[in-house]
Symmetry: C2
Subunit: 295 residues, 2 copies
């Protein structure tokens, strides 16, 4: 296994140095005097520590609030939750009728940064499933709001839009999750009213059922998540290849939805965005061989 | 060094698995039958291959175009380029006068995905500075537009906003860079008119000088980049710690600029967002110890 890791990290180190030079910058200064710690922290630096990711998140929340304000002014016929019989080929949305307005958000890395949990992995402490479960139930205040999220949920509530959280944490952690939402300054969440979790229905980690439950009672004008399962389970269809999934987001009616009812928050640390082999990420017609390499 | 890499990758692998379970997901399926390749591709999967990053980029371009349309309708007094004597404490912007409207964009990982170059690093081919230089001059068509960028630049030009690129590629690669911009479907760029590069003035990789040159002739209503140096050199001040830099983006007038004249495109692969040690990324008051770990 050692060789595997060495090559892996070496490649990524090279990528960083090469790309840094694309930007004509000197190579990164060591983040720490301890080279082990300096390497170990790298997967976490961008999302949890960079000004770039902060700007990226804040601009998304700004756009979401501006969009919601327009929807409040001109009430839409349809919400942004896909109907039960919708597909990529035949998209249509749950109708709004006279239902009150709501916005539906994932929790982890969408409104809440799990600093306490991730700091363990970043420090080299093994963090397995049971620990993650205990974190979810802990109600630990070692969290922060995603940049812009406090502004976002407050602005939405102020304009009369109900903020509803739909997370894939297990519903045994409902209390701890609500405590962390409150600790991050995101307000009061009530299980099965403004907070839905895995286990609240029979669909497990598939969120469509909970979305449809919410959309029965609300006109959902905006959804946001760091994973596309936070938008529709269509994106996690078993037969959807990494390439087809990317293409589905890039084209047609789906592409039009980004920033127009659907929003993504950055998360390069974990989740369904971290898939694909070399041939899927870099198609054969997008390779380049440096013929000058032997000059 | 081996131990360093082993621990590093192990930590990041744990982070992914832990966090994947935050989302109640089964651990990632191997991206490839070759475990070495599967590990090596990981740093590139999110930005270059995920549907999540595609949505994140498209929503930014949608918001930028909507914002620009408003500025075209109601011409602003000031642009969004900080004036020469501006500071975080005393921000003010170059005035617009009667100058024509423009939008200023970085190139690499802002409008252009450098697939051909990065595919080498992702495949384990060493990619050093000379190779990066040859890539910049190659004019290789092994590139793709950043999702949403073609829509963005076309919409801006259609509304009479001049699209100007300001990159830190060296100006010896002006021709190759213009060729890649064209190959990505981003149109025609002319050196020193709509394309500026490092070496075009005496400020090296600092972009403020080129921004001020552009702002002498244009009312710059929008700027976007994957690095904050694409917005202002203030963000790369030597004395600015990783923590202070993040805080600068999170608060006050700077926070208001994200999505309101300034935009960030995602890039967790390289650059100034990849800095900071454990204590900077996870402050002491945001740590959590799993007391149940020995259950």
């Amino acid at each position: 296994m050692k060789r595997l890791f060495v090559l892996a990290l070496a490649a990524s180190a090279l990528a960083v140095s090469a790309s840094a030079q694309v930007a004509q910058r000197a190579s990164q200064p060591a983040a720490s005097d301890d080279p082990v710690a300096a390497e170990r922290i790298k997967p976490f630096q961008y999302l949890y520590g960079s000004a770039e990711a902060a700007g990226l998140s804040i601009q998304a929340w700004h756009a979401l609030v501006d969009y919601a304000r327009q929807q409040v002014r001109h009430r839409p016929k349809n919400g942004v939750v896909l109907a039960e019989d919708a597909s990529f080929e035949n998209p249509h949305f749950v109708r709004c009728g006279k239902k009150p307005l709501a916005a539906v958000f994932d929790v982890d890395e969408t409104v809440l940064l799990n600093l306490g949990l991730e700091s363990n992995a970043a420090a080299g402490v093994p963090t397995g499933g049971p620990m993650v479960g205990r974190w979810g139930s802990s109600g630990s205040a070692a969290v922060a709001p995603v940049p812009g999220a406090v502004y976002g949920v407050n602005a939405l509530r102020k304009m009369g839009v109900t903020v509803i959280f739909n997370t894939n944490r297990g519903n045994k952690s409902a209390e701890g999750t609500a405590a962390q939402i409150a600790a991050a300054g995101l307000g009061h969440a009530v299980h099965l009213k403004t907070l839905y979790l895995a286990g609240d229905d029979q669909m497990g980690s598939r969120k469509d059922g909970r979305r449809w439950t919410i959309a029965k009672n609300y006109c959902v004008i905006a959804m946001a998540g760091d994973q596309l399962v936070d938008i529709s389970d269509l994106f996690n269809a078993k037969d959807l290849s990494v390439t087809d999934r990317r293409q589905a987001a890039l084209h047609g009616w789906v592409a039009q939805m980004w920033g127009n009812g659907w929003w993504v928050l950055p998360n390069p640390v974990y989740g369904s965005g971290l898939r694909g082999g070399l041939d899927e990420i870099f198609p054969a017609d997008k390779r380049w061989t440096d013929t000058g390499a032997n000059d």
